[in-house]
Structures are given as structure tokens and as C-alpha cells.
């Protein structure tokens, strides 16, 4: 077991006051899997109504709103968690949904994969976890990491053609290929050490050990420690750290800061 201190803060400021603002955020570590909380604090502005809950994937959510005109939303989520190796046993949802392609993880059936990315005959002899690991290696060498080359709407199909992206795209491509191979896979996001921003990775279901295990295709590693998960889902659209909507004609500026440190 290891202990980590995390601190996440976001400041969204608006150049002109906005109204009718509603938000939904996922900024609390997922519990009941491989992490438990020693201490946690969430600071939200007092002028919003807010509730805690969970979404359908059992991610913890905080949602609320403020209809009156205001110029900023700021929140801080911080705490200390103890972490076990990255193995997750429980899942309340039907298994099949982790095999279905989604909009962001579909690769058209006529696409011909270069063997360096997907080689069916090579995979055929491998165990499930070897397959996942091999897919991860291939995705990692097939794509180049290019900041700002894609956006939140970029699909696995676009990435497989452009051969570049960020952690979200690496994860989507790996998930897409796993699902084509009949391996249940899901998208995860949260914090890792030293990046200063949120990160995305992949969970793959290991049917032999009956648990989900973590793969980080951006860094080409199997995950053991050091990944604080905020959410998982079918793809990135299921687990945005924050979503919001407001009325107003304004420039929005968002500052995000992440600290994760083993203690």
C-alpha cells in the first residue's frame, strides 16, 4: 500500500457576468476499487446549490448551479488516499457494454490496419493480457504524442489516420482495437505524478483473474501505482472532469492545476 497527496483546483473566470450556470464535475477519487480515502476536502463556492451523487458508472459526481449573475467558478479538491495495486473487482454494469464501439471509439470496418498496429495472426497465439499489452505497445509506437493536435471530439478513426494525438487519443485507439479483438476495455481518467494536468488511460478486463487492470498507452506501461482515478466510462464523453452550461456573452478562461505526490 502507498499513500498519495492530491490537490486539484480549477478557476473558471468570465469576462462578463454569466447567469443560469449549471455544472457537473468529477473531481473526487473513485472509491471502493483500489483506493481508500484517509482525508478529503472539497471547496466549492458558497453561492451555488450543490449535491453529491454518483453517475451510472459509479463515479462520484458533484453537480449544482447558480442562476444569478456571477463572474467565476472556482473549486478545490484535495486529500490523502491510500492506494493498493491497480486491480478492480467490482462492476455493476452488464459486461457487453464494454465491448460495444462508441462514437469516439469506432473504426470503420473497411479500414485496413497496418500489421505494425494490428496483426491478427500474431495476436491469435497470445493470452488475453499479452494481447492487451501488445496492442498497447503498437498503439504507443504507431502514434506520436503531439500536444494540441486533437480536441475532445476527435475519434479513434481520425487518430488512426492522422497518427498523432494526446493521452485521450492514445486511449481511444487502444480501446477501439481491444473491443474489435473481443477484449472488454474502458476509458479512465484522473491524475498521475508530475504532469500538472489530468491524464487518461485504459482499463482492460482480465477474465482469468476476474478483475480490471490498468494500461497507459501514452507511457506504454502497465499500471501498478501512482494513478488516481476520477472516473471511468465507455469513452472520454462518459467521464469529463467538468461540464457546464450558462447564458452569457463572455470570454471564458479556465485554469487547472494538479498536484499528485507520494507521501
Amino acid at each position: 500500500m502507498r499513500r498519495y497527496l492530491y490537490c486539484y483546483n480549477t478557476i473558471v473566470s468570465f469576462s462578463e457576468p454569466i447567469g443560469n450556470h449549471e455544472f457537473l464535475i468529477r473531481c473526487l477519487p473513485v472509491l471502493g476499487e483500489y483506493m481508500s480515502v484517509e482525508e478529503e476536502h472539497l471547496v466549492l463556492p458558497p453561492d451555488y446549490w450543490k449535491h453529491h451523487g454518483t453517475d451510472t458508472f459509479n463515479n462520484r459526481i458533484v453537480y449544482g448551479g447558480n442562476r444569478e449573475p456571477h463572474s467565476a467558478l472556482a473549486y478545490v479538491s484535495t486529500g490523502i488516499i491510500s492506494m493498493h495495486p491497480y486491480r478492480i473487482n467490482n462492476d455493476s454494469l452488464p459486461f457487453s457494454i464494454w465491448l460495444q464501439p462508441t462514437h469516439l471509439t469506432t473504426i470503420i470496418s473497411s479500414f485496413s490496419f497496418p500489421p505494425s498496429l494490428l496483426d491478427d495472426t500474431k495476436l491469435a497465439e497470445m493470452s488475453l493480457m499479452e494481447k492487451a499489452e501488445s496492442i498497447m505497445h503498437n498503439v504507443n509506437s504507431y502514434l506520436s504524442y503531439v500536444p494540441f493536435s486533437t480536441d475532445v471530439e476527435t475519434t479513434a478513426q481520425e487518430v488512426v489516420e492522422s497518427r498523432q494525438g494526446v493521452c485521450q487519443d492514445f486511449s481511444h485507439l487502444m480501446i477501439a482495437i481491444c473491443r474489435i479483438q473481443g477484449i472488454p476495455a474502458r476509458y479512465a481518467c484522473g491524475f498521475v505524478e508530475g504532469t500538472g494536468e489530468t491524464h487518461a488511460w485504459v482499463e482492460v478486463y482480465d477474465a482469468h483473474q476476474n478483475c480490471w487492470v490498468g494500461f497507459d498507452p501514452t507511457h506504454d506501461i502497465r499500471i501498478e501505482y501512482g494513478y488516481v482515478k476520477l472516473a471511468h466510462g465507455r469513452d472520454a464523453a462518459d467521464c469529463p472532469v467538468s461540464r457546464g452550461q450558462y447564458n452569457g456573452f463572455t470570454n471564458q478562461q479556465t485554469q487547472i492545476n494538479v498536484i499528485l505526490k507520494e507521501v
Partner: protein, 444 residues
């Protein structure tokens, strides 16, 4: 029963003029341009015999009851999948299945409060269900207003013929909405606005039910409770929402994030049980064209009864036996793409050139799960007036079934749509068809 409709049929143009004046229209988007069209009314009513109606009514109640039980099961225990009656692929790959609804328990276990079941009467005198529309079935307002106008234009027709009054649809809706509302607040009909194809219907039903017509921006959520923001910024609590926008636009916090039509955080209020959504979110999984095949099996599974209504003979290429039959007989069958709606994804094998047919066959071979195939049902044609003469055209019937926690009721009328093209089986209003009033005879 003898029925005399001469005076009514002679006044077709008058009825159409009145409806035009009332703004009875539907909108069509084509190539990005919005156009409103009149929905041509044919004054020769479809008359359903009393005994036929009794049969249809009991069959429709049974079918919709089973569909609601299926939806509850899918989003809770999933027994029908565990027992191998419906293969899970058909459920979880359906676009209508929404994992976000897992474990949410709508009041009264109702997911489809208003169901539009499309039927045809075959030349063999049997009725067949062509599809179930559970998401946002539209069209009830057209026969409502047509009857209203017809009664004014030709009162004697309705004085002398013993047919069921269909102007009670608003009461059926209102009773159901009151039951769902449970005295929590006001009832609203939530429209995306006047550029929606069915805006006439939204406003007409609001007027007739006495519900408030709400537009995007009128409703908001605070502390898991939904409110209507009035003109003077007062807050009025909302207890039930008859929403006329699709699931994916309902809550930008959970579904399509770019939706400006939705009510942010409505899903949290719905989950908390503080508002009823009519119809329930996620019910499209039961009106999926692939699930349709299994509806008679659901009736048997949940109710222990044989299905009263029959499906058109349907094949799922997903099953080996059906696959072989479909590939061998593709030129005789109707092939439907389960991933599309609105009548655009329906192909008649007999109408295709050999090349196109081969292309379609290859598509079926490639993705068997994506298609269903049906025998062409020889519909009984109905008379319509074309110019000065009577001609026979294909027609279907959309029956409306209203379900609350107390009961399931079938509206004693329905929308009869006909194709104006003599060779076409496609009766969708978006493809240029017209409609008739549907009379249910009170005696045989």
C-alpha cells in the same frame, strides 16, 4: 350498422381549408432548409368494426404492458437476458439502450406512457404490427382536430352514425399526466420550439390538456427539483414533463454536451424521483427494429399469455436459419436497417436492380446484426378521393396507447396514414403521404 358519409366526403375541401387556417402543419428539413407542409386530409374515414376494435384493444394493451415490463427488466434485473429469451447483443448494441438509466426507477414502472403502435390490416383480414414507437410517437393531434372540424362541417354525419368520440384523447393524456405528477407541481409539455416538425401538435396538445407549453430555457433544476421560470422570474414547481425532445438532448450534463435544448441536471432530478418524464429516458431500446422480433416472446415471458397481435413475419439474419433464408430470398423481402428511423432505411428487395441487390446482400453478410427482413405484407387498400374519383391506396394505422401507474388505455381512434403514390407501401408523412380520420364503430 349502416354508415352514411356522403355529406362528409363531399366537404373534404372545406375541412382542409379549416385545418389550413388552424395551422395544421408539419415541418420538414430538406438540405438544411425548413419548410412547413400541410398534411393532406382525406375525408373518407377508415372505419374499424366494433369486434375488430375489441380485438385490437386487448392486443394493444397486452403488447404495451409487456414492453413496459421489458424496459423495467432491462434497466434492473435483466432476467429476460439471463433466461436466454433475448440475446444480450440486441439489447446493448441498440442505440436506444442508455447505460445512464441503469437502476433509475421511474414511477409506476412505466417507461412508455404514450406508445404509438403501427399496424396494417392485411388482405387476409388479419392485423399485423409493423413497428412499436415508444420514444416520441407523434400524430394524435391530426385526427383530433380533423374530427373536430369534420363535426362542424357536417354535424349530421356524426349525429346519425354510432362511432366513438375521439376528442377525449386530451383527457386520456391529462389523466395519465396527473397520475404521474402526483400533486408535486404543474404539468408541462416541453417543446424544442416552433422549428420542430411536430410543433403544431405540441401546442395543440398543450391547449387541449391544459398543460403549460414550455420552451428550452423555461425549465431549470435546483436542488434536484425542476421549476418553470415564469415571465416575472417566479419559480413554479414542475411535477411532470411530457417532453418532445429526444433522450440525447435532454441533459447536456449527461448526454450530448452541446445540446441547448436540454434542461441541465434534469437527470439528477429524475433519478431522485422528483419529476416524471413522459416518456421515460432510455425506452428506445424496446422500439429498436431488432428488438421488435422478440416482442411476442416478451408477451409470453412476462405475462404467460400468447401474443394476441401478430408481427409481420420477420427474420433476423443474426440467427443462422434466418440468415440462410434471407440471403436466398432477399429479392422478395423488405430489408430494414435497424440503425435508422423515419422510413429512409427501408428497402424492398423486389425494387432493386441486380447490382444494388448484390450490394445489399453483401451488407447483410458483413453485418447480419444490423438488419431485419420481413415478408411483404399485402395491405388491404383504403379508398381515397383523388380529384373527382375514388382510388385505392396503401394505408397503415398508428394506434395510441396511454399507460399510467393505474391502467393502460387505448385511444378509440388513431392516425390512419396513406401513401399518395399508388405503388408505394411507405406511408410516412415526411415522405408526402396524407391522413384520414379513424372511426371506431360502437356496434357491429
Amino acid at each position: 350498422m349502416s354508415i352514411n358519409i356522403n355529406e362528409l366526403t363531399n366537404s373534404r375541401d372545406t375541412v382542409n381549408r379549416w385545418m389550413e387556417r388552424f395551422g395544421v402543419r408539419f415541418g420538414v428539413y430538406k438540405h438544411g432548409v425548413f419548410n412547413e407542409q400541410l398534411f393532406p386530409f382525406d375525408s373518407v374515414p377508415r372505419i374499424i368494426k366494433h369486434s375488430d376494435w375489441e380485438y385490437l384493444e386487448s392486443g394493444l394493451k397486452q403488447r404495451v404492458t409487456a414492453l413496459n415490463m421489458f424496459l423495467w427488466d432491462i434497466y434492473h434485473d435483466k432476467n429476460i437476458i439471463k433466461d436466454g429469451v433475448v440475446p444480450e447483443e440486441f439489447v446493448y448494441s441498440s442505440k436506444g439502450y442508455m447505460p445512464e438509466c441503469e437502476g433509475i426507477s421511474p414511477q409506476g414502472k412505466i417507461y412508455s406512457h404514450i406508445s404509438g403502435i403501427d399496424l396494417v390490416e392485411g388482405k387476409d383480414d388479419k392485423w399485423y404490427v409493423l413497428e412499436d414507437n415508444l420514444r416520441i410517437p407523434s400524430g394524435a393531434s391530426y385526427p383530433m382536430i380533423a374530427r373536430n372540424v369534420s363535426r362542424k362541417v357536417s354535424p349530421s354525419t356524426f349525429a346519425s352514425n354510432a362511432i366513438a368520440d375521439n376528442r377525449d384523447y386530451a383527457n386520456l393524456l391529462r389523466d395519465m399526466m396527473d397520475d404521474m405528477n402526483d400533486n408535486r407541481g404543474i404539468a408541462v409539455i416541453y417543446t424544442p420550439g416552433r422549428y420542430n416538425s411536430a410543433f403544431f401538435e405540441h401546442s395543440y396538445l398543450a391547449e387541449k390538456t391544459g398543460a403549460t407549453l414550455a420552451y428550452p430555457g423555461d425549465l431549470f433544476v435546483e436542488n434536484d427539483v425542476v421549476y418553470y421560470a415564469g415571465m416575472f422570474h417566479e419559480k413554479t414547481r414542475v411535477g411532470c414533463i411530457y417532453r418532445r425532445i429526444s433522450d440525447e438532448y435532454m441533459d447536456p450534463m449527461v448526454f450530448e454536451s452541446s445540446s441547448l435544448l436540454g434542461i441541465p441536471n434534469i437527470m439528477q432530478a429524475y433519478k431522485a424521483g422528483n419529476v416524471a418524464l413522459i416518456n421515460g429516458i432510455g425506452n428506445g431500446v424496446a422500439d429498436d427494429k431488432g428488438i421488435y422480433y422478440f416482442v411476442p416472446k416478451m408477451v409470453k415471458y412476462y405475462l404467460g399469455e400468447e401474443s394476441i397481435l401478430q408481427n409481420a413475419p420477420t427474420y433476423l439474419p443474426y440467427f443462422k436459419e434466418d440468415y440462410d433464408y434471407v440471403i436466398a430470398n432477399i429479392d422478395k423481402l423488405v430489408i430494414k436497417d435497424v440503425s435508422e428511423a423515419g422510413g429512409y432505411g427501408v428497402v424492398f428487395g423486389s425494387e432493386l436492380s441486380p447490382e444494388k441487390l448484390e450490394e445489399l446482400k453483401q451488407l447483410v453478410i458483413k453485418e447480419p446484426r444490423r438488419w431485419i427482413a420481413q415478408e411483404v405484407v399485402e395491405f388491404k387498400d383504403l379508398e381515397i378521393i383523388e380529384g373527382e374519383e375514388l382510388v385505392w391506396r396503401k394505408a397503415d394505422l398508428r394506434a395510441f396507447v396511454v399507460s399510467s401507474s393505474k391502467d393502460v388505455r387505448v385511444w378509440r381512434s388513431g392516425l390512419t396514414r396513406f401513401s399518395r403514390n399508388p405503388d408505394s407501401y411507405v406511408v410516412n408523412s415526411s415522405q408526402g403521404g396524407g391522413f384520414k380520420d379513424t372511426w371506431v364503430a360502437l356496434e357491429d
